[in-house]
Subunit: 408 residues, 2 copies
């Protein structure tokens, strides 16, 4: 096992094109004032595809189209993404526009439209300026340089302040296998999913069925374990393309190195999730909540997410206030099985509650700890073996500022 772990390496040139056979591009086509707003990822060969999509009953046209594309085909070769307009609540015109984006991308690349995914993010309810998009798709030129990958990562952002990239390599069957991910997040991040777009590329050889199962399972503990504001968007999409060019033997749970592959896959998803949470609108801090001793893993995750989603916890962390009362209160209203007399809570390494009652701690030390950019909260319910984590961010003046003025 030790040997296997050692063979995993995090790539410093984190990039969506690190796996073999992927190219990308990002340009400004005119949907936003100045910033890049159109991106494309292309694989040299059709890739196994997996996808997870918003649970919102209101679904954007490109999401409806791409979901159907993923579910009816097992392969995807290219993804076209625009930011600046969500193409949601845009009726039949919206669906026609999404279809046109799919069609034009296919024509440009000389592949079937059934191999093209479409994703959009931005304002809801405005008809796409398709003249800009048509020109954009004509102009965009996917390439293999780090610059191309950066252009892409920037082109999918909305109110994000930083790009979100990660990549890992591991040797499987004597071949180097790379998994890379890129995402955008920011507001409306309450997955199941939120206006989060995530794209994961890998040169691993893996069938669609295995890939979809792995993505689904991983999503529960990563993308669905983050929250910025509890709003679940109309456009959330995570797509994974696995093009097989690493030429490892097909990966299934029976493959001797499956767990290594699964580990780095989860790591990519977790890295992206944490980057999204940390860059929540207006956020100054990443909050990580770990819950142990719940009845089930599911309840542990639900409790962790309730705590990290509480506006009162979020503002307390922003204010560096060790107000653990808000933590225990959120645990209490999580709707899960709680024994109030058996709860232990730590903020950082400092125990603040034991058996449901406050224990003395140094306010000065804890206030100093809360000034860190990453704040950890731990709760043990002493009721079972359930464990779970969730990530979020503090709630700040800037969140209000950004969202009070976003559209105008």
């Amino acid at each position: 096992m030790a040997q296997i772990v050692e063979s995993v390496k995090k790539l410093t040139s984190e990039s969506i094109i690190a796996p073999k056979g992927f190219s990308a591009a990002g340009i400004h086509c005119g949907l936003k004032h100045k910033k890049k707003d159109l991106g494309m990822i292309v694989s040299e060969v059709p890739a196994s595809v997996a996808g997870v999509f918003t649970t919102n009953a209101i679904k954007a046209a490109p999401l409806v189209l791409t979901k159907e594309t993923v579910y009816t085909n097992e392969k995807m070769q290219a993804i076209i993404i625009n930011s600046g307009n969500a193409n949601a609540c845009t009726g039949t015109q919206g669906m026609a526009d999404a279809l046109q984006m799919q069609q034009l991308t296919a024509e440009k690349l000389g592949i079937s439209p059934q191999l093209v995914g479409v994703a959009s993010t931005g304002v809801i309810g405005e008809i796409m300026k398709m003249d800009k998009v048509v020109t954009g798709i004509d102009m965009i030129q996917p390439g293999h340089t780090l610059e191309n990958a950066i252009d892409f990562a920037q082109s999918i952002l909305t109110t994000d302040t930083v790009m979100k990239n990660t990549a890992y390599a591991v040797e499987i069957d004597g071949q180097e296998v790379i998994i890379a991910g890129v995402a955008k997040g920011s507001g409306m991040i309450e997955p199941n999913m939120a206006t989060m777009l995530g794209f994961i590329t890998t040169d691993a050889n893996i069938e669609q069925k295995e890939l979809q199962a792995l993505l689904k399972k991983t999503t529960d503990t990563t993308f669905n374990a983050i929250t910025v504001d509890g709003d679940t968007s109309t456009n959330d999409t995570v797509l994974v393309l696995a093009n097989g060019l690493a030429q490892n033997n097909p990966l299934t749970p029976e493959h001797p190195q499956w767990s290594v592959f699964e580990d780095i896959f989860v790591k990519v998803a977790e890295d992206l999730s944490k980057m999204i949470a940390q860059d929540g609108e207006g956020a100054t801090k990443l909050i990580e909540v770990t819950v142990e001793g719940a009845i089930t893993d599911e309840e542990a995750r639900k409790i962790a997410k309730t705590v990290v989603g509480s506006p009162l916890v979020k503002t307390a962390v922003f204010g560096c206030d060790a107000n653990w009362g808000r933590v225990i209160c959120a645990i209490g209203y999580s709707g899960c099985t709680i024994d109030p007399t058996n709860i232990l809570i730590k903020i950082g390494d400092t125990m603040v509650v034991e058996k449901g009652e406050p224990i003395p701690f140094s306010e000065t030390e804890l206030t100093a700890y809360l000034k860190n950019h990453e704040v950890k909260i731990y709760a043990n319910l002493h009721q079972g073996d359930g464990v779970g984590k969730a990530w979020g961010c503090d709630l700040t003046y800037d969140y209000v500022q950004i969202n009070a003025t976003y559209r105008s």
Copy 2:
């Protein structure tokens, strides 16, 4: 019917002591720096009592005590309330302190402790400064003047900026019956319940069983239909005392004027709920969301509450931004049965969405409308007969400021 409606009057001297036989007081005993922090309501005679309490699994000691008192006795004659300390997560000492408050109040008034309710609101997890409370209970002198009532209404506030009082009178069986209410709200307002305390007094003659059923039913459409930040507190309590001094015939659903009594009871609860929502921490506006055409009333209320609780809707209203996309998005993630192609949305009187798609409107007019202190949002799902309302407030810089610094 018209005659009955005409006989209802809203009292301008809105006050908890307006019904016959009630007195009240509020003083500063030392739990807060300067403001009043100890209040008492007393009825001349034991009153029928009804109560609803937080659904949070973590319950404050006074709430546990009062809940038991309400459920094991059918009468209550006095309530002692402190602000500044929630007496929550305070273990056996906390319960001993709540019991002592009950005991001392009973001794002072010469009544059984079983006739005394106790409520607390404030910081969680700090042991009560009982020396201050003991002196306070000794000093406090309930009286019948408007000043006494104002003192009381002030004594229960925490971060509230205004008192919340209301009262109505109606003639029943030839006797004037008055129902009055007082409340505190502000942060952690996500009922089912939230750090909301509500006290309703009436001189109506009504049995405990009928009163409890009426309160329970009313709570669903009033106190439980408001949200400030989605946090449900450990201390939320609404208590109703009905002392019968109006000498009407006992009120039951069979009484010919039951519906009139029910109407003003609901009106009192709704007035208090709206005042709590409007005075949410940092709020500048009351938001009222009305949903029609849902599958059931329950789903309509759930959708209305999801919309009014969305941080993105709340910030948009604060910013006077007619961003209906956030409204439809929140409807979509409410978890209720939604047909995306059949939704109609109005902001004020302006229709912005029909059959799920945007329709043109004047941005200038709608921005002007959104500058009002009360903003109404209406949605019709065209799926059934379910109707429901919810109230909330905008999310502002001040909410963040108040909650980032509350305890320090």
